[in-house]
């Protein structure tokens, strides 16, 4: 962190330690997702780590309330952790196990938890965005006071459904917030090769939303922008927030990012919000020792999630026929059963 000058945090209302803890847990969890893959225990290799994006998850997640809901994109582990996910059940889901959040059916890209308002991660770029319009409508109709937040990447800024969704949110004054985590890349394509205008919030403003762009280096900046937008959203003034950051590693576990230079990566990884906040706290009354203890306890918790995942059982084969339809509906007949039945007759 040599080149960055890190000012002390002066916002007394802010629990910077809590934000750090959130971010540190994400970092630690994601590193272990990488480890799970290396150990051959993950379900596939489509694992998208949110390392480098912790401040977006924590900055926005920390201003959301119980009862608020959200959807995420494929790189959503961090956001879910910031909203209270159980790392054991997450890791088990990423491993495709029965004890996972979705009983091994969803995996990393389809984690959800209705009880925490997580309406689902999505493997379709932009696919989860319009759901928050519906959640916002539900909030408005039920007068529940809840806000719904869509998290997505800069790549989704080029999906038409975002604009349809923002237009509806603005038109109907919905309690909705759109959060673009701009990590500069969609797979191997840097944002300036995907769009001419990288000033993303202007697009939202053009549809009548309140738009902000913020640098994700300092989580307190994200937090305060998000807090303002969230208050407004709750009052029926929907908003858009772009958080710029850097995707530290490859797109998914197997991608070594040959399409970018080492220098660029090095510079990008220096913009590390976790380290930045740690430094602030180390230089504050909290002190480095307490942080070491905290970090260690987080790492232990996350190590345990790997063990939990590995020691959990795979789902029963027959469970694949469950949950296609509601619980009291008959499951689809299996092809094998059908063939036996047909051939037994003829």
């Amino acid at each position: 962190m040599a080149e960055l000058t890190i000012p002390p945090n002066t916002n007394a209302n802010l629990d910077l330690e809590a934000l750090y803890r959130m971010m540190r847990r994400i970092r630690s969890f994601e590193e272990r997702v990488g480890e799970l893959f290396v150990r051959g225990q993950s379900a596939g290799s489509m694992l998208h780590l949110s390392i480098g994006e912790e401040s977006a998850a924590a900055g926005v997640g920390s201003v959301m309330e119980d009862g608020d809901s959200f959807t995420t994109h494929h790189r959503g582990h961090g956001i879910f952790l910031a909203r209270g996910a159980n790392p054991d059940r997450m890791m088990a889901e990423i491993a495709g196990k029965q004890s996972g959040y979705c009983s091994g059916k969803g995996g990393s890209m389809h984690i959800a938890d209705m009880s925490l308002g997580h309406l689902g991660a999505n493997a379709i770029v932009g696919g989860g965005i319009p759901a928050v319009v519906g959640a916002g409508l539900a909030s408005k109709l039920k007068k529940s006071g809840s806000v719904s937040v869509a998290f997505f990447g800069d790549g989704a800024m080029q999906q038409g459904i975002l604009y349809e969704s923002m237009n509806m949110a603005a038109l109907w004054d919905l309690p909705v917030l759109f959060v673009c985590i701009n990590n500069q890349y969609g797979m191997g394509t840097r944002i300036d090769r995907a769009t001419k205008t990288t000033d993303l919030h202007v697009r939202a403003e053009a549809f009548g939303l309140q738009g902000r762009s913020v640098d994700g280096l300092d989580v307190t900046d994200v937090h305060s922008a998000a807090a303002d937008l969230m208050d407004d959203a709750r009052a029926g003034k929907p908003g858009f927030l772009a958080v710029s950051c850097y995707r530290f590693y490859g797109h998914a576990r197997k991608d070594k990012s040959p399409y970018r230079t080492d220098e660029e990566e090095e510079a990008g990884r220096k913009r590390d919000s976790v380290a930045y906040t740690r430094e602030q706290l180390a230089n504050s009354t909290v002190g480095a020792d307490a942080l070491d203890i905290l970090d260690r306890s987080i790492d232990e918790e996350m190590d345990a999630s790997i063990d939990f995942a590995i020691n959990s059982g795979a789902p029963e084969l027959t469970s694949m026929f469950n949950d296609v339809y509601g619980p009291s509906e008959p499951p689809p007949e299996s092809v094998r059963t059908r063939i036996e039945r047909v051939l037994a007759r003829s």
Partner: protein, 324 residues
């Protein structure tokens, strides 16, 4: 018993359901002040207000996506897609989201929504406003699929659809809106997911749904004149599919034609014919014949349009040939 049209029955079903269940709301293009492109939702905005009958921008994908999100948030949305032809813009939200959410999330939540739309030929509306695209839906696990042919079914199956735990695609036929029939709104509920034998005969079974049920009935009338007695089965619900009713009649009669307005290849008729051929093999005297839409787009010319989908005469001819 009251006389009403298919259109009125649909409106009545929406009205009654919305009165009973205040989580139901309607969203779609022109469903409010305009009353729906085909007039189905006329007046509902006055009865239930702008919050529950929501005129949307022309954003089909987001309409379905918003319905999905609302359904996951305790509501029961009825999204109207003005023409089934526009489903292409929504297939991601419908096929990858609505259909799979319960499954992908391990059964944590359902998506109890109804997608009302209409399809079919008959208005010289051309290739992009006349299609019958139910096969896309039938091929997508997780989506229920209902296509009522009668006024009573329009009412009762829409009520039933609005009680399901899962997304239901409810496809009306644009040629049926003015159909007027007696209907008993208080009748015992039409059972969910069951086909119905509309008429019973001994020479041939005609399996149809939506508007083709009426064509099959008309053909059966004509055939009767020469002593040929046809069973006509109205499938009504393509998912769940009540195969038992079809099987019973086919095995009794031994000859069958399946009729659908959608294009033949890889269509609903293919599924029905494959299944009948597979399951009733030893009972069939003749091959299962598919009477279906031609494997071509629909022309705007009325003559070409009419010529490209099954009509009663074609059904009669086919049955005669089959019985020769």
């Amino acid at each position: 018993m009251v006389q009403m049209t298919y259109r009125e029955a649909l409106r009545q079903a929406l009205f009654d359901a919305m009165t009973e269940d205040d989580t139901i709301f309607i969203l779609g293009e022109e469903v409010g002040r305009y009353g729906g492109a085909y007039g189905v939702t006329k007046g509902l905005i006055d009865d239930f207000g702008e919050d529950r009958v929501l005129d949307t921008p022309i954003s089909e994908a987001a309409i379905i996506g918003a319905a999905v999100g609302a359904a996951m948030s305790g509501m029961r949305p009825v999204a109207e897609l003005m023409y089934v032809d526009f489903i292409g813009m929504t297939m991601d939200q419908l096929g990858n989201q609505a259909a799979k959410i319960r499954y992908m999330f391990g059964g944590q939540t359902g998506v109890p929504m109804v997608l009302r739309t209409q399809g079919g030929t008959g208005r010289s509306a051309g290739a992009q406003h006349s299609q019958s695209l139910e096969a896309y839906i039938m091929h997508t696990p997780g989506l229920r699929l209902v296509m009522p042919a009668t006024v009573a079914d329009a009412y009762h199956l829409l009520r039933q659809s609005l009680r399901q735990p899962d997304p239901v695609v409810f496809i009306e036929h644009k040629g049926l809106y003015t159909l007027k029939e007696e209907v008993d709104l208080d009748a015992d509920e039409v059972p969910w997911g069951q086909a119905v034998v509309r008429r019973q005969g001994e020479h041939v079974v005609l399996v149809a749904y939506s508007r083709q049920v009426h064509h099959a009935m008309a053909a059966a009338d004509t055939l009767m004149e020469s002593g040929v007695k046809a069973t006509v089965i109205d499938v009504r619900s393509l998912n769940p599919l009540d195969f038992k009713t079809i099987q019973t009649e086919v095995e009794r009669v031994g000859r069958v034609a399946v009729i659908s307005e959608g294009v033949m290849t890889a269509g609903v008729g293919a599924e029905l014919a494959a299944r009948i051929s597979e399951e009733c093999f030893d009972y069939l005297h003749d091959p299962v014949i598919r009477i279906a839409g031609e494997d071509i787009p629909i022309s705007v010319s009325a003559a070409l349009e009419a010529g490209s989908v099954p009509e009663p005469g074609m059904i009669v001819d086919t049955v005669r040939r089959l019985l020769e």
